[in-house]
């Protein structure tokens, strides 16, 4: 049973990682804790559902449609809302994302209703045998997606000009500007990346938690906790944090009862903030807010 709980926890954790990484990249380039990150995903899940149900898209085209839509949503959030207040203090930025959170909740409720909708399964529900544990194919597929996205991000940040420039802006925006790096464009790109990650986070988790305006609320908090593991700065730190949360909550749920599942994630953030406020890996905040 341990192996099984561990692997399915790892699979869920790898989906939390998509949210956690998005929280980190937006925060470190814009000082913004994006409360709307989960709602980008929720909208993405609804868009995929509508494409499948009403437009008879196959799953992969629906996923692609959702990705395009969410990138657009991220870019829109930057251009219409965040850019106007980019020089404000962090609380203003935070409050603006809270505003977006409520707007997106409202929009989803208005168009698609408040009830919970099932998301069609795209894989064979018969469990398969992995390392002696029985796990659903869906978990394997989700882990593969998350790993592929992780690889794409790694290549982007390590080898492409815009990816390195994004890290340069993280490091020192003023000097980045001096080098001719268009900082606003990079910030736009950052929000686009948040949308890209949001679409996968929402569509991949939809068959597990179903689709509703509130579907991502808990996931967002877990993603945020995971981001804090990385000091809101380190992407690998955030990924490790997300996997840990997925595993721990699943083990707690399995051994102690399902009530303990969510409690575990929150207990982890309390312990983390109490003992390692700069993240599990001792990363110091590098720039003053």
């Amino acid at each position: 049973m341990f192996g099984q709980l561990f692997i399915s926890g790892l699979a869920t954790g790898s989906l939390y990682a998509l949210t956690a990484v998005a929280v980190v990249v937006v925060f470190r380039n814009t000082r913004t804790i994006n409360l709307a990150q989960g709602d980008f995903s929720m909208i993405g899940a609804f868009v995929a559902l509508v494409l499948i149900k009403s437009f008879a898209f196959n799953y992969y085209f629906a996923l692609a449609g959702s990705v395009v839509f969410c990138i657009g949503l991220g870019i829109l959030a930057e251009r219409v809302v965040m850019r106007q207040i980019a020089d404000s203090d962090w609380l203003t930025l935070f409050t603006a994302t809270l505003g977006m959170y409520y707007i997106l909740h409202g929009v989803a409720g208005h168009f698609w209703g408040r009830d919970t909708k099932a998301f069609p399964l795209t894989f064979d529900p018969t469990p398969i045998n992995v390392f002696g544990g029985i796990i659903s194919q869906g978990h394997v597929v989700n882990m593969a997606w998350a790993a592929a996205i992780g690889l794409v991000l790694f290549i982007f940040f390590k080898y492409t000009k815009q990816g390195i420039a994004m890290r340069a802006v993280t490091d020192d925006p003023e000097t980045a500007a001096l080098m001719g790096i268009p900082v606003r464009f990079i910030v736009l790109l950052t929000w686009g990346m948040a949308g890209f990650l949001a679409a996968f986070a929402g569509v991949l988790i939809a068959p597990i938690i179903y689709v509703s305006p509130e579907m991502m609320d808990e996931v967002l908090i877990k993603g945020y906790v995971a981001a804090v593991f990385g000091g809101l700065y380190s992407i690998p730190g955030a990924i490790i944090g997300a996997l840990l949360i997925g595993i721990c909550e699943n083990l707690a749920g399995g051994y102690l009862g399902s009530h303990f599942k969510t409690v575990t994630a929150f207990a982890m953030i309390v312990l983390l903030l109490a003992f390692r406020p700069h993240g599990l890996f001792g990363i110091q905040k590098r720039r003053e807010v």
């Binding site: 003023e174 500007a177 790096i181 268009p182």
Partner: protein
């Protein structure tokens, strides 16, 4: 021919009037020094040229084009790069990545890689440390990297803000020798801000002395080195 001309340039930070009418001429191919005490407005002058500080009055002209209102990105593309005060290396980027960012505004791949080879030849230490994070370099190495990063833009005008700051005399001499070599071989124009008036005037042809946001003295470098006021205020012992 004048490559850069500042006319009655003014700039403020809120109520602080950092520049109160600065005029300078930088001839193409020259090395020009800007001297002055802390807070005189030297860095602000360079930041205004690079477009990261917006002037409130006056003109900046480069190669006949008016720079006022242009973005830093546009200004780098026109051929002005800056080596900022305190080096400002991207500390979480490797040496190679720092250099690559210097060429951000360019897209001529083959020429970029030629310039990279040239810079690594100029500063062999950077070649050895290409994969190291910028933040792990020593002060002297960081200054070499900062200069290399500026050169990666292949500028016509290189702005240097206190390249000698905090470095040992032997490294300072080394860095100025390299700058001179680049100036002579590439005919690259340089505007060098320094508090170390001695080394700056030895390596330049013309100098300006700033005092609280204004040009107090200007002249041929050889004359400034004989100027009593300059000797007393900026040459130290």
């Amino acid at each position: 021919m004048t490559l850069l001309r500042l006319s009655n340039l003014e700039a403020s930070y809120g109520a602080v009037r950092a520049l109160q009418g600065v005029s300078m001429d930088v001839a193409e191919g020259a090395v020009v020094a800007v001297l002055g005490a802390n807070g005189a407005g030297k860095s602000t002058t360079l930041k205004a040229i690079s477009g990261v500080v917006k002037p409130t009055a006056g003109e900046i002209e480069f190669d006949g084009k008016r720079l006022n209102g242009m973005t830093p990105n546009q200004i780098v593309r026109l051929g002005i790069a800056q080596v900022p005060e305190g080096r400002k290396i991207f500390k979480d980027l490797t040496v190679a990545e720092n250099l690559r960012m210097g060429a951000y505004a360019r897209s001529d791949k083959a020429e970029i890689s030629k310039d990279l080879d040239m810079i690594l030849e100029l500063f062999p230490r950077l070649s050895e440390r290409a994969k190291q994070l910028g933040g792990t370099l020593s002060g002297g190495e960081q200054q070499m990297l900062a200069i290399g990063r500026g050169l990666m833009a292949r500028p016509r005008l290189l702005l240097l803000d206190e390249p000698s700051l905090g470095l040992a005399p032997i490294i300072i001499a080394d860095i100025f020798a390299t700058l001179r070599k680049i100036n002579e071989e590439k005919r690259m124009t340089m505007l060098v801000v320094e508090q170390n008036a001695n080394i700056a005037l030895k390596n330049s042809s013309f100098g300006y002395v700033l005092q609280v946001g204004r040009v107090a003295v200007e002249g041929v470098a050889g004359d400034l080195r004989q100027n009593k006021e300059v000797i007393e205020s900026y040459m130290g012992a």
